[in-house]
């Protein structure tokens, strides 16, 4: 069987023009599919950036909250009520809101302010510079060094600025797992200071972060929170809720889906047509092989091998090209959100398999129908 596969391989790759056209088709399709879906994955991940960065196991919120950004304040009693639920190891408030930072040149920059529980500082970021206890200092803020960091004019420890007309000073520079979606810098401070600096409605707690005693308590906590008229979600559930919002309620998901389907169709048409032409051009040769004694299943194996080899090579090239362009784009555009995940790769692989199956199906049909007698007739 190895010899037959090598024969198929040689017939394929020695036809350089066709093989190149096939590879270009598949590579281009894979590149587009992964680029589109990875962009979507990146956007979804960034949409959940605060959830990822704070790292709480459970989140309590108003049931109308759809994304981390559209917070709806909850009264203080919710925090106390959650703390009293059996199965809760601890619960802390967190504030998430926006503030205007006045830069040295007099211009303003919008920033996200995260206020951490004063007592525990639960959800604090990893510091690259400075000490976490300095966050309790006067007007202290920790700035996140992410792609948005330069928008605050690359502050250093000790840099002073105005936040909503209050004095602020940088006491630490931090790193977080995921950057935000909206292209604004992030400042961390204490919960109480955030309330002082940012004008608030009547209720101030954005979320209550909960750590259950053990996973079995989660269901009960959810039930008790629901009885209070609020919603408790695990970290994964909250991220899924945010993803669903962007996917189904913003049109983003549908638009990217359309682009992905278009990439698939482009790939299918280029590769399918080229492969079919390749089979047609070799039809007489397949007929000659049949006359010489090749069995139908051997010819099918040859065609499937040729299609699979082309598809997998194109798939690899497409992944490589997409990774390269994503890396290059991130050098020039720090906000570029694309994130290549296994899910993206699996989806592209499935689509490539479909392209291969469709391309080979018509080729196989043609080869099975060719009669060796046609070779004699000429």
């Amino acid at each position: 069987m190895k010899g037959i596969l090598k024969l198929a391989y040689k017939l394929l790759v020695n036809d350089k023009a066709k093989f190149t056209a096939l590879l270009v088709g598949i590579t281009f399709a894979v590149f587009l599919m992964i680029a589109m879906t990875s962009l979507f994955a990146g956007v979804l991940k960034r949409g959940s950036a605060t959830v990822i960065n704070l790292g709480a196991s459970m989140w309590v919120m108003d049931p109308a909250v759809q994304t981390i950004a559209n917070t709806i304040g909850m009264p203080d009693y919710v925090l106390d009520a959650v703390r009293s639920i059996p199965g809760v190891r601890y619960a802390v408030p967190v504030y998430s809101g926006g503030a205007l930072v006045k830069l040295r040149d007099g211009t303003y920059q919008y920033a996200t302010v995260v206020g951490l529980d004063d007592t525990s500082l639960f959800g604090r970021p990893r510091l690259l510079e400075g000490r976490i206890e300095d966050i309790y200092g006067e007007n202290a803020f920790i700035v996140v060094k992410d792609p948005e960091f330069p928008k605050l004019e690359n502050p250093r420890i000790g840099t002073e600025f105005e936040v909503n007309d209050h004095r602020g000073v940088i006491v630490g520079i931090a790193q977080v797992t995921s950057s935000g979606l909206f292209g604004v810098p992030t400042l961390y401070t204490t919960y109480e200071r955030a309330l002082q600096y940012i004008p608030n409605p009547r209720f101030t707690i954005s979320y209550v972060l909960v750590e259950p005693k053990n996973p079995a308590d989660i269901a009960n906590i959810k039930q008790q929170v629901q009885a209070l008229g609020y919603l408790a979600l695990t970290k994964d559930e909250f991220m899924a809720r945010i993803s669903d919002f962007y996917m189904y309620q913003t049109g983003m998901g549908m638009n990217l889906l359309i682009m992905t389907v278009m990439s698939f169709i482009i790939g299918l048409s280029i590769s399918g047509q080229t492969f079919y032409t390749f089979v047609l051009e070799n039809l007489e040769k397949f007929g000659a092989l049949k006359a010489m004694g090749a069995k139908s299943r051997e010819l099918i194996i040859m065609i499937l091998f040729q299609a699979s080899f082309t598809a997998l090579t194109g798939y690899g090239l497409g992944i490589g090209l997409c990774s390269l362009t994503t890396a290059l784009a991130k050098i020039r555009l720090p906000d570029y959100a694309a994130l290549i995940t296994f899910w993206n790769l699996q989806l592209a692989l499935v689509m490539v398999v479909v392209i291969t199956a469709v391309s080979s199906y018509f080729g196989v049909l043609k080869v099975l129908r060719i009669e060796p007698f046609d070779i004699f007739r000429g």
């Binding site: 010899g3 090598k6 017939l11 036809d15 004694g293 090749a294 009669e371 070779i375 004699f376």
Partner: protein, 238 residues
Amino acid sequence: MAAPAIAATGLVKWFGEGEAKTTALREVSLEAYFGEMLYIVGPSGSGKTTLLSVLSGILRPNSGSVSVEGADIWNMSSDHLADFRLHKIGFVFQDYHLFPRLTTAENVAIPLILKRQNWNGAVADAHKYLEIVGLKSRADLPPVKLSGGEQQRVAIARAMAGQPDILIMDEPTASLDGDTGHSIVGFVHKNILNEKRCILIVTHDSRIYEFATRILKMEDGRLTGIERGAETEEAKHE
């Protein structure tokens, strides 16, 4: 007389249905023997190629039987028949049907590869057959770099690589000039034909008749006589 290499009885083959029905073979019977170079000649459309296809196991007749070395080939399964062709029959097609993307040696190695010989071994063996047809020095060239006569010899080497008992040649001189065609068939007669091999040739090139053991004439789907050799098949039945 020894048992025939090929024995065909009452072969009937038609194409199409109704008004479009064309009968290509009408009750054709013949025998071909080992050590024989049997020509089937006749005008275009007389059924020569159809007969060759039915005899070699690539076109099923509507009725009649073909026995090759005692085996009724049209009672075999398609896989069994493919195997049978691979091991017993070698083909030299009119247009050669060489693979332009393979080297000459790789082309010759194809029957060996189909027989599951490993690639390197098959290509090495192919060089021996190319040596027989005098083209060893051309082994690494693609067929398109060869002349028509050389391509024909490559096709013969490929057919011989499977070490067939029966060699089928369809219009072997059709694409060649007179001298080249004559020398190619002469080469086959001298080097390929032996007492353990039967060669069937379809042609209407009278310049190569001198190499034939027997020549059967076909017309309108029937064997109508002989140019040379023993009695006609029809005469046998009379």
